[in-house]
Symmetry: D2
Amino acid sequence: MAPPIRIGIAGATGYAGRDLIRLIARHRHAGIVWLAHGPGEPDEPISTTFPELAGICDLTVLDTAVMLAKHKVDAAFLALPHRAAMAVAPGLLAQGARVIDFSADYRIRDVAVYEKWYDVQHTDRANLGQAVYGLCERYRGQIRKAKLLANPGCYPTSALLPLAPLLEAGVIRHEGIVIDSKSGASGAGRKAAAPLMFVEVNESFKAYGVFSHRHQPEIEQELSVAAGKPVEIVFTPHLLPLQRGILSTIYASLAPGKGADDIAAAYTAAYANEFFVRVKGLKATVEVKHVATTNFCDIGYFVSGGRVIVTSAIDNLVKGAAGQALQNFNIMFGFDEKEGLV
Amino acid sequence: MAPPIRIGIAGATGYAGRDLIRLIARHRHAGIVWLAHGPGEPDEPISTTFPELAGICDLTVLDTAVMLAKHKVDAAFLALPHRAAMAVAPGLLAQGARVIDFSADYRIRDVAVYEKWYDVQHTDRANLGQAVYGLCERYRGQIRKAKLLANPGCYPTSALLPLAPLLEAGVIRHEGIVIDSKSGASGAGRKAAAPLMFVEVNESFKAYGVFSHRHQPEIEQELSVAAGKPVEIVFTPHLLPLQRGILSTIYASLAPGKGADDIAAAYTAAYANEFFVRVKGLKATVEVKHVATTNFCDIGYFVSGGRVIVTSAIDNLVKGAAGQALQNFNIMFGFDEKEGLV
Amino acid sequence: MAPPIRIGIAGATGYAGRDLIRLIARHRHAGIVWLAHGPGEPDEPISTTFPELAGICDLTVLDTAVMLAKHKVDAAFLALPHRAAMAVAPGLLAQGARVIDFSADYRIRDVAVYEKWYDVQHTDRANLGQAVYGLCERYRGQIRKAKLLANPGCYPTSALLPLAPLLEAGVIRHEGIVIDSKSGASGAGRKAAAPLMFVEVNESFKAYGVFSHRHQPEIEQELSVAAGKPVEIVFTPHLLPLQRGILSTIYASLAPGKGADDIAAAYTAAYANEFFVRVKGLKATVEVKHVATTNFCDIGYFVSGGRVIVTSAIDNLVKGAAGQALQNFNIMFGFDEKEGLV
Amino acid sequence: MAPPIRIGIAGATGYAGRDLIRLIARHRHAGIVWLAHGPGEPDEPISTTFPELAGICDLTVLDTAVMLAKHKVDAAFLALPHRAAMAVAPGLLAQGARVIDFSADYRIRDVAVYEKWYDVQHTDRANLGQAVYGLCERYRGQIRKAKLLANPGCYPTSALLPLAPLLEAGVIRHEGIVIDSKSGASGAGRKAAAPLMFVEVNESFKAYGVFSHRHQPEIEQELSVAAGKPVEIVFTPHLLPLQRGILSTIYASLAPGKGADDIAAAYTAAYANEFFVRVKGLKATVEVKHVATTNFCDIGYFVSGGRVIVTSAIDNLVKGAAGQALQNFNIMFGFDEKEGLV
């Protein structure tokens, strides 16, 4: 057997980092060489931060810069906040590592859109052009060759997988799309914050980021590619009192002359051979529990009059982050896409 | 002080019944005379079914027919399933009791619509005509004189309070309204059912009743009254992993020439003097936890381009059932509307 | 009707403060005159901190010192951390207010024990001697006359109500008692802290403060009074993934010649006329949900061989804090003990 | 590579069955040949019962008897209730299959004890004598050769792993042991039952089966083996409002002359080379979240005066059922014990 692919993970002390470590522990052809944290965090074993990893991975997490100087890797996963990612990626690329970035830094093709929504200057325009948007089931060909992969956001994944094939096939109208999404609390990350305390989140539910969530331009960018014309959406995220999972309820209108059969056909064309997208069909229910801790995206849909409702479910930390990242890695390095993910 | 109003509660062994008993225990001018159950349930103290009520109310729950024969009451609350309610109401009305019904049996004015959606023959058409729809803040005048009051559904309450004033004032278009609602599990009632087991509901989330939930015609009926013309909506309920509360996220379009100020004005006109409707204003967040166990309805709204998003929150068992029923009782009998409800 | 008792609440921005405000809103003979916060907190309406209180109480919370200078009150509730309470109490007592303190500052009679366990110097020894330990059902006589009332801790309340009558009556041995307690997350207060984030507490459970929790000396002090000799216990608190409630599972041994009937007799003697203590009896189950949001303490017990297991349940924020405080207030001012608490 | 071991699973439609299917899907040397259900259940794909398995395993579940007649397997897992297991095991053994039974039918060596606690006649005394109790870390040698393996109960696993080494080494006294255990709701199985509805379990907590839970004799049997003399315990299970996990808080007394170092030494002797038992050490906290979905058992302990408190955490469905069963399978068939379990 070939020696395993050497992997580094920056931002290992977040929930997506932890899940990635767990998944890679099951991967037969990849081995973690280093784990790194952001500035100001202590150097300690990852199993101190996440006791659940004791025995699975006991590497000590050091500063990212230290790690870069010390070890060459074949692939680096950046589970860092935006800004931090684009500060690190160029050095890794220069060392010859292939980079899989979890942040938004390389997702938005129009740098002006990025800078407006993220309120920050883009500091690595040089590499932005070569970044591939890593929605596995849609960009597999480009992903194979990617040096710099922008791993999709969790909400965008839950919206794009159900919507893109319908827009591409012209089955639904590109106007008036409403995406009402609900996410578990791990989506907000691991930092202590008053509104994310147990007593505040448990037994409650709310919308947030109404008309202003940063995943909106990412969703619109990719839906516009699928539709072949500019698509504007209304997107409302909500906070669910549970650990992991996103369910999106999507409202659209049938295009003239189209019906449920056309939706079925569009999904068959897109996903009949996709292991990780399970189209449950017309009038099928999808539920967060069916996808939690897995890399699956489940899709069900309903049609009445000219209205279409599509519901999709993913695990925000797996198909919405670490799992899709590992799927992208598998594509990039020529492994079975399911490796480490079943 | 006048002797307390004598109250009977049929269907006392459900969650809405229990909450009603708790609320009435705080009411200075009402006293429970009897509690009744549906056919087949055992005769036992209510505190056997609900140990939380021990000391608060220890009456024995007997069969509804037995109770009707035995005790005359001034007011009867029917926390029974549809069909069972209209079997009992006529007898109570004939005895001179004023009836507050929690079921759908007297909510739908068009009997054909009722019979289609509830798949049952209406057995009390005689009284249907005199029933008053008990959305307190909109029908207070009629409620005062009502003999037979149809207490609104939980989802309808969460949709009508935010939408009716906007349609009535012509601030939003009456077409294309989407109501994406999320309810806690107590909304499904107290019966054992596999999909409502803890392990199935906890850590999960799903849509259900897509395009087919029975609260849709009720919402459409009342929105049509408000708009002065037929309104059709898309309504999607979801199941939240929490005890109590509904949050509705409502999507609409501004009417031509209208804006956020007109929304504010419509709400001020409707609710400035209403204790139980708290309009939080433009860009305000509402959360289930702020209304849980209370009779409040919180409303916040957002405007962008021509799109309007309104979010509302209520407790499904209080403002969505027992609390609104007691508020209706207070109106009907001339008490302070807040009595028992703060 | 007499004018209402004027009340001030210091530490209003914590969960116990909030619950107290809600309860007082239902009290017919008490009115809140001021709300105060600790040093460094912003001056803003209490309904900004707790939107659930909007309409119920919209007073602005100011600095404690400012409030003391401005308003005289008949009774002050101190929902402050230990240390902060004893800094404020003397001034209030000097103004003639009767003080009900939620902290540990006046609970421990032996100042050396206090100073050791709380690792701080006691700064108000002058008033310590006159403080009455406010376990309502056991010290009612003294509470009536108290100027300075030390409201019991939540865990101690859950342990003392079931254990004190048994020790006092000599039904159980005073040695070898184990108290295994489990509390909801609101017991930890409102401050943001990483281990109390939703994602960390939800779907988890742990012991904490093993052999070292500060409620141990308080429990031992009061059990020693009941037993008439020094009692040492083993006490282990745990963190439950729920909002409110404590269940304590208590292990003890029967005294020689004693049995289940003696337990029943001891409880009858202690609680037959107590509204807020519900002894469910031999082999009875108690559950957090039966007491949540109420001022009840439920008790059930089991006997096998010479072993006794007693389980008790309270709401940590009500009978374990704000509710018991209001019950104490009712005793002190001669009101019906249930006023505001049903 | 050798052809995979052929596996049959009876009782596949319960939570332990589902988890076992998931784990075997990751095992490189085992393949599921059949899935069977109990009498009266419908024949349908396992992914109809558990949509989360779609794509992972889509076998149709047939009646156990049908499966036995149809397919020979190398190993059969019986995730059936007690009684049902001993009705099926003999036939499988006769076919030459090695049987791993999840029920209590072959766990209790003294048939009289079994018949008393389970209130049923044992119908397979012939095979009882050859059954091996499958606590992997203690009986590995016998397990290797076992034809019939009795997989330990969930509570027993959480109690025996921390206690057995201490009793065996004589570090703690064998009298006065109290085991206060708390389990997530999946421990109660998948059948609809009113007390296990979401609304009844969520936001609540209770003890159950006090002095009467069937896992008590199983724990006592194995602790007696470890101690070399009869051990009686007090065992109290509780129901936690979460999906999966057991935390046991165990109270014991040090044997004369023993201390924390002796505990450490006993654990080192027992578990230094065990991958799935993580002894966190003196004053270490264990938490359900660190073991959920894993096959680990975490152990921490505290000593004060002569008292010892040990806390242990496992996932009731993994180390407490399906995971330990697969670990036993790996031992029996000579595979790496971690295969399929990391």
